[in-house]
Amino acid sequence: MTETLHGPVHRTRPTSSADPFSAELLADPHEFHEALREAGEVVHLERYDVDAMGRYDTVHAALTDWQSFESSAGVGISDFRREPPWRPPSLLLEADPPHHDAPRAVLQKILGPRALRALEPQWRADAAALVDEVLARGTEFDAVTELAEAFPLRVFPDAVGLRQEGREHLLPYGDHLFNTFGPENFLVQHGAPSLPEHAGWVNEQCARDALAPTGFGADIWAATDRGDITEAQAPLMVRSLLSAGVDTTIHALGAILAAFARTPEAWAALRSNPALARVAFDEAIRLESPVQTFFRTTTRDVEIDGVRIPEGRKILMFLGSANRDPRRWSDPGRFDLHRDPSGHVGFGMGIHQCVGQHVARLEAVALLTALAARVETIEPAGTPTRHLNNTLRAWETLPVRLTPDR
C-alpha cells in the first residue's frame, strides 16, 4: 500500500468534521461511511485528530501490514504511548510480534476447528433444546434476549469453564470494554461507575482454581505446564475470551436474525439447504459488521494515495464501511446468500484476525440449523431498536414473530 502511489505526492488529505462516535452516527453510520469512502483513501477526522480509512482495499492493507500499523499502542483511540491503558493491555489484541506470537499460537490451537469438533454435538443439542423452550413459551418475542443472548450465554461460559454465579457481569463488562476503544463520550461515562465490580468479577474468573477442570480456560492454563506461555500470561488470555467472545457473538447472531426477518426468501433458502448457514453467517457479518471499528498506530511515515501520514498517528479503520464498499462488493447493502462473502474484514485480517471466529461460526451454525429445522418463517413484529456502543453494532430489541412447523 505504501509502495503504490497514486496521484501527486504529499497531497493534503481530505477532512471531515463528523463525529462517528455521536449517538446519531452510531445509530446510522452508512451515509457517513459512504462520504468517507468517497472523500478518499484517508480522511482526517478533525474532531479527534485521527486519520480514518473507509475503503475496503485501504482497510485490508492496514489490517495486514502490522509492521507499519501497530496494535501495541492500543487498538482504541487512546494512545498507550501517551496515556496509560485503563487495564493491563491484552496479550493478543494490544500486542505486536514478537510478544503476540506465543499467546496467539496457544489460543489458535485451543479455539481451532479441530478442537471445536468435540463441542459440536453438544452445542447442536443445546441449540435444539433452546429453540424448543422458546417456541413452547410463544411465537412472538424479542429475538435479542430469547435467542441472540440466550444461546451464547448457554454454551460459551460453560465452554470456557466459568462458574454459574456472577455470569451477569459478562455482558456489561464486554459492552463497556468495547465502548472504551472509542472516545470518553456519553457511553463511556455511563458505564464507568459500575466498571469496577464487573472487571473485578471477570479478573477473578481468570485464575486457575476459579475455572472448571476442562474447557478453554483449563486448556489455556495447561499450556503453562508445557511452557508454551507463562503463568503470568494465562489469566490475561482467559480474560481475552471473556472480553472478546460474548458481546461480539451475541451481536452477530442479532445481525443474522434481523437479516433473515427482513429477507424471507433467504430464510426459505436456508430452510431448504441448511448447509447455507455458514455462508449466511459470514454474509451477515459482512453486512452488519458487529465490530465496526478498530484503531492502529503508525510505526513510521506511510504514504497512502499520495498522502503522507507521519509516524505515531492514530489510524481509525472502519471495518463496517470496508464491508460495504461498492468498489469491492456489488449491491453491498443487500443480504444475499448467493454472494461469496469470503474476504470480508468483519473478523479483521492478518495476524490479529479473530482467533475466536471458529467458535462464533459454530455457535451460529448450531443455532441457525436448530431454528431452520423447526421454524417456517421469521418476520418482524415491531420496530427493532439499536443498542449504541462505540465499537459494536448491536440491537437492543428485535421483536420477531415465528411460524413453527406444523
Binding site: 501490514d65 502490522w66 506465543a102 499460537a105 476447528p113 479441530r114 511452557g227 455462508v279 474476504g343 471458529h358
Partner: protein
C-alpha cells in the same frame, strides 16, 4: 535446515503447480563454506505470508524435490524470505541442486511457512546450534532481544569457515560461545554448557541428530517443554504433483478436475460449490475441509506434522493433492 531425505523427482515443474505459491530467487550469496543464502520474493514483490521465529518453508524445487528450510530473516520484512542451504554431498540432490543449478531469477514453489519449533516465553534462553542449524535460531535471538529476555548461544561447527553469520553474531559479545571441533580436536562439553544454564531457562537446539541427542540427554532433568529441539524428520510422502487431479465431492455424484494453476477453492466455486474462505493463504483455518480418501498436498501454515500425517483434513485455499484422486466432504 538441511533435509536431504530421499524422494523421487517428477517430470514436470511443480513450482508451476499453483499460481499463489511461487517465489522468485531475488538474491543469492555464499555465507560460509558450502552454505548459500537465498533471498526469495513474490514475482510481483508483494506481501508474503507472515511467520514467527522457528518457522520453516516447504520449498518445491524445480527438479521436483520438496525440502524444508528454516526462515532466518526478520519477520518484520514482509517482502522477502531468507533461507540458507548447506551443500550435502551425499544427500539425494536437493542441496546440490540449490548450489549448482538454482540461479537468481529462477522460480520455486512453496508451502507454509509453518512452525513446529516455536519460541515460547521464558525467563532466559539457552540456544544450541550446530552448523546450518543456526538458521532458525537467528530470528529467535532477535526476538529474545526485543522481548528483553536474556539468552546465550553455543554455536558449533567443524571450522570457523563453516560457521555462517559470525559477523551478525559478533555484536553479542560473550553471550555467544563458538566451538569448532576441527581446530581444537575437542568435542564441546554439551553437558557442562547446559548445566551452566539457569535451571528454568528454555533450551532450544537445532543441528545434527547427534548434537540434538546430546542436548536432550543433558537437559533430561529439566521440565518437559523446557527443552525443545528441531529434528528434520524426513516426511515420507511422494513428490508434489504438477499434473491435474480428480476431486470427488462425497455425497454428490460430482468429480471435478483440478488443473495445475488453479486452486481447489477456485475449482469448487466454478463448479457451483460454496466454500467460505477468509485469508485465502492457509493461515486462518476458515476453509478447513474433511478429506475422506487420497493424499492431500498440504501447503497451509496451520497443521503440524502429526496432523498432516493423519491426512483427514486440508485447507483448499492453498492445499492440493498428491494422489490422482482426492475425496472430500463439503
Amino acid at each position: 535446515m538441511p533435509n536431504d531425505s530421499p524422494r523421487s523427482p517428477v517430470s514436470a515443474d511443480p513450482a508451476a503447480a499453483s499460481p499463489v505459491d511461487r517465489l522468485v530467487v531475488a538474491a543469492r550469496r555464499v555465507v560460509a563454506d558450502q552454505v548459500v543464502e537465498l533471498e526469495l520474493q513474490r514475482p510481483d514483490a508483494g506481501r508474503l505470508p507472515d511467520w514467527t521465529p522457528g518457522a520453516h518453508l516447504d520449498l518445491m524445487l524445480p527438479n521436483g524435490l520438496t525440502r524444508l528450510y528454516s526462515l532466518l530473516g526478520d519477520p518484520r520484512d514482509a517482502s522477502s524470505y531468507r533461507i540458507a542451504v548447506q551443500r550435502e554431498e551425499h544427500g539425494d540432490g536437493g542441496s546440490r541442486f540449490v548450489h549448482d543449478r538454482l540461479e537468481v531469477g529462477d522460480m520455486v514453489g512453496f508451502g507454509g511457512p509453518r512452525n513446529n519449533f516455536r519460541l515460547v516465553p521464558a525467563t532466559s534462553y539457552a540456544f544450541v546450534a550446530g552448523g546450518i542449524g543456526i538458521t532458525p535460531i537467528l530470528p529467535m535471538l532477535r526476538a529474545a532481544t526485543v522481548l528483553g529476555i536474556d539468552w546465550r548461544l553455543l554455536y558449533l561447527g567443524r571450522s570457523p569457515g563453516a560457521l555462517a553469520y559470525l559477523a551478525e553474531l559478533a555484536g553479542h559479545g560473550d553471550r555467544v560461545q563458538l566451538h569448532c571441533s576441527g581446530s581444537s580436536g575437542a568435542r564441546a562439553d554439551i553437558d557442562a554448557w547446559i548445566a551452566e544454564s539457569p535451571s528454568d531457562a528454555k533450551v532450544y537446539a537445532c543441528g545434527p541428530a547427534g548434537l540434538l541427542d546430546a542436548v536432550v540427554r543433558a537437559g533430561a532433568n529439566r521440565r518437559a517443554g523446557w527443552v525443545r529441539v528441531e529434528r528434520f524428520t524426513a516426511t515420507a510422502s511422494g513428490p508434489a504433483r504438477a499434473t491435474p487431479f480428480a476431486l470427488e465431492i462425497a455425497g454428490t455424484d460430482r468429480t471435478l478436475i483440478v488443473e495445475p494453476g488453479t486452486t481447489v477453492v477456485e475449482t469448487l466455486r466454478i463448479a457451483g460449490f460454496d466454500v467460505l474462505t477468509s485469508c485465502a493463504r492457509g493461515v486462518c483455518g476458515t476453509c478447513e475441509t474433511e478429506v475422506l480418501a487420497g493424499e492431500p498436498d498440504h501447503r497451509d501454515a496451520l497443521l503440524d506434522d502429526a496432523e498432516r500425517a493423519r491426512g483427514n483434513c486440508f485447507f483448499p485455499c492453498v492445499s492440493r493433492s498428491r494422489s490422482d484422486r482426492l475425496v472430500i466432504a463439503l
